[in-house]
């Protein structure tokens, strides 16, 4: 076989393509395929029985799945909004700082440096009903004399998880919005002040439209994240007690490993990915709209 040789770019890219295929594409296809089988880890042979959409149909009627789904969306929505507001506030405060701004920026990034597992443990300890800091503080302040069961009561546990999530990720918003504030030209703000705006009106009509795209970038990034909110929940409550804080991803991992129903779990995972994609697309649209609005050059 002489004559034809693959072109050089193709040859040069081939190793990368092969590695990508091995670690990304093949597992992806395999998992998608397995979501159409009754695959159980304990019965490898079941991987080769196709059952069509039966897993998906099952999910659609599974109340447990939809509860977890709803809870995830709720967590996502509340967390993103709270993070957005806190991040905005933090960014505006830091932007006002005339001295030590660098230091503040670095400190602001601290939560991002912690692994979510650590954050989970940290908050699990803080919200512990017997030895936790939170109860201790509340009791010392005389606000309550009971041990509040933070991680045991369903809605309290949801709140505790939310706090942990917000703590670890507000900085994403703060950093991106701060970047927006620092990149913003100062003259339109001055023009607004001369045009008669109160500080609030200046923010509302001039500053906010300008930093909105940055907030949406943060939203987009975070919407990918929260749909994967596994680690913190896993450590803090593991979906419990009695599935009262079950989120999509704890449910999926339980289905896959504890119940060993890999096929069903993969089907759930694809539905969850769909949710994540929907959020991302939504924020991405908002982002492009906001960008055109301020005629951004990026």
């Amino acid at each position: 076989m002489k004559g034809w040789r693959p072109p050089a770019p193709f040859l040069l890219l081939l190793p990368a393509v092969l590695v990508l295929a091995a670690v990304v594409i093949i597992p992806l296809i395999l998992s998608l395929y397995s979501s159409f089988t009754p695959f159980r880890l304990t019965q490898p042979a079941s991987l080769f029985t196709l059952i069509g959409f039966r897993n998906y149909v099952r999910i659609l009627t599974d109340i447990e799945f939809w509860t977890a789904f709803g809870r995830t969306v709720l967590l996502l929505t509340v967390a993103l909004n709270v993070e957005m507001l806190l991040g905005l506030g933090l960014a505006m405060l830091v932007e006002k700082a005339t001295r030590g701004q660098r230091l503040l920026r670095t400190i602001m990034m601290f939560p991002m440096m912690f692994s979510p597992i650590l954050v989970g443990f940290q908050f699990k300890f803080m919200f512990n009903d017997n030895i936790g800091l939170v109860n201790n503080a509340l009791q010392s302040l005389g606000l309550t004399d009971q041990a509040i069961p933070w991680l045991i009561d369903g809605s309290l546990a949801f709140f505790a998880i939310l706090v942990a999530e917000v703590w670890s990720s507000t900085s994403v918003f703060a950093i991106l919005i701060l970047a927006g504030l620092l990149a913003m030209p100062k003259e339109p703000i001055e023009a607004a002040r001369v045009d008669g705006c109160t500080p609030w009106q200046t923010f509302r009509y001039v500053t906010w439209p300008f930093i909105m795209p940055f907030a949406y970038i943060a939203m987009t990034i975070r919407s990918l994240d929260v749909a994967r909110a596994y680690d913190i929940v896993k450590i803090m409550t593991d979906g419990g007690p009695a599935k009262r804080t079950e989120l999509l991803w704890t449910l999926i991992s339980r289905t896959a490993y504890a119940d060993a129903r890999m096929g069903l779990a993969n089907a759930m995972a694809y539905v969850a990915i769909l949710l994540s994609i929907l959020f991302t697309v939504y924020f991405f649209r908002k982002l492009s709209a906001a960008r055109t609005q301020i005629a951004a050059e990026w």
Binding site: V194, D195, G196, Q293, A295
Partner: protein, 365 residues
């Protein structure tokens, strides 16, 4: 309807004082131009008037009321920024109507005012565009429109034309002049283009290093500069300024060349006094090519060698060598000159200036 008074106005950034207690009275409907070299504090002064910079000392009054501590929105003025500072996310229409909207006017009341201003500035066809879709000159007009729509007591301009090309600048200069005639507001206009200052202003304020050097009408500052600095700053090309000494009733330059002492300074100098002699290019011309005939009593004739010429069409700037330095003269009805050529020049000493070399102050009464 507003006067603006600066009384011993001071601006400090930390321990650095950049405006040193300046006094200025701006009459109602007056057009004042603030000029001066870069960094002399023009923008800072303007921004204090606007309320964008806190006043560090002295009093600032608008319409007789002390406004030192009032925010910009309580001062009812409009400002046109050098960078235009349009709101990038609003259309031209929204930009121009923004201040009215903030003031709480109804949309149906705002629209006609915006359209009226747009007509004045020839912006009607651009009303629905965003600033990013406009050229520099158009943005400049929108910035002006935004200011006009407010009908403010005082207009503040900070080098509004400096980002435009020469032709557009000339055109907008005329527009601003017409506009002022029409709206009849008080205007404070910062520029470092002295042509703008001379053509637009009722009075010119020349600043230097945070002090006011001179305040006067364009004729005043051109014909009767109070200091060497003003003399050199106003006029283009700048006045010839050469150091000299008074001896034997003559002006003696460093290399020994001498000119007669101009008549009006005869009683004002003493022998041995160190001075700076000033003569505008208009008053130094090849014989027969000047504004005046060159036959007047106070005209001194002298042969000079031409170093270089700059033909401008209707006139030629002639650089020639005298008293060991380079002097610029202006030649009307020019003919072609070649470098090295020597020809008789007229020094119109009736128009000459003398400044004290130490203080830089004029020696005339």
């Amino acid at each position: 309807m507003a006067t603006v008074s600066l009384e011993k106005l001071v601006k400090r950034y930390g321990s650095l004082e950049v405006v040193h207690g300046i006094d200025l009275e701006v009459a109602d409907r007056e057009f004042i131009a603030l000029v001066g070299p870069s960094g002399c504090g023009k923008s800072t002064t303007l921004r204090m008037i606007a309320g964008l910079e806190p006043v560090s000392g002295g009093n600032l009054k608008i319409g007789g009321r002390v406004v030192n501590d009032l925010p910009p929105r309580a001062r009812n003025l409009a400002m046109v920024f050098q960078s235009y500072a349009l709101y990038p996310h609003m259309t031209v229409r929204e930009n121009m109507g923004f201040s009215l909207k903030i003031a709480g006017q109804k949309p149906e009341d705002i629209a006609p005012q915006v359209e009226e201003a747009a007509r004045t500035l020839d912006l009607t066809h651009l009303l629905d565009r965003r600033p990013s879709q406009l050229s520099g000159g158009q943005r400049q007009r929108v910035a002006m429109g935004r200011a006009i729509v407010r009908q403010p007591d005082v207009f503040l301009f900070d080098e509004p034309l400096s980002n435009l090309d020469a032709k557009l600048r000339t055109q907008m200069r005329v527009e601003i002049k017409k506009l002022h005639a029409k709206v009849q507001s008080t205007v404070i206009y910062v520029t470092h283009d002295q042509v703008e200052a001379m053509t637009l202003a009722d009075r010119i304020v020349i600043m230097r290093d945070g002090y006011i050097e001179q305040v006067g009408t364009p004729e005043d500052v051109f014909q009767r500069p109070k200091s060497k600095f003003v003399a050199g700053f106003i006029g283009s090309p700048p006045m010839n300024l050469k150091d000299a000494e008074i001896a034997d009733g003559q002006v003696v330059f460093a290399n020994g060349d001498r000119l007669p002492l101009p008549a009006r300074f005869r009683d004002r100098v003493t022998a041995g006094q160190k001075v700076t002699f000033g003569l505008r290019p208009d008053d130094l011309y090849p014989a027969g090519h000047g504004i005046h005939s060159g036959e007047d009593a106070d005209v001194h004739r002298q042969d000079l060698r031409v170093i270089l010429t700059e033909p401008l069409g209707n006139e030629t700037l002639v650089f020639s060598d005298y008293a060991g330095a380079e002097w610029v003269g202006r030649m009307l009805n020019p003919r072609r000159l070649s470098p090295g050529e020597a020809l008789p020049f007229c020094f119109d000493l009736s128009q000459a200036h003398l400044f004290d070399r130490e203080s830089g102050r004029t020696l005339r009464g």
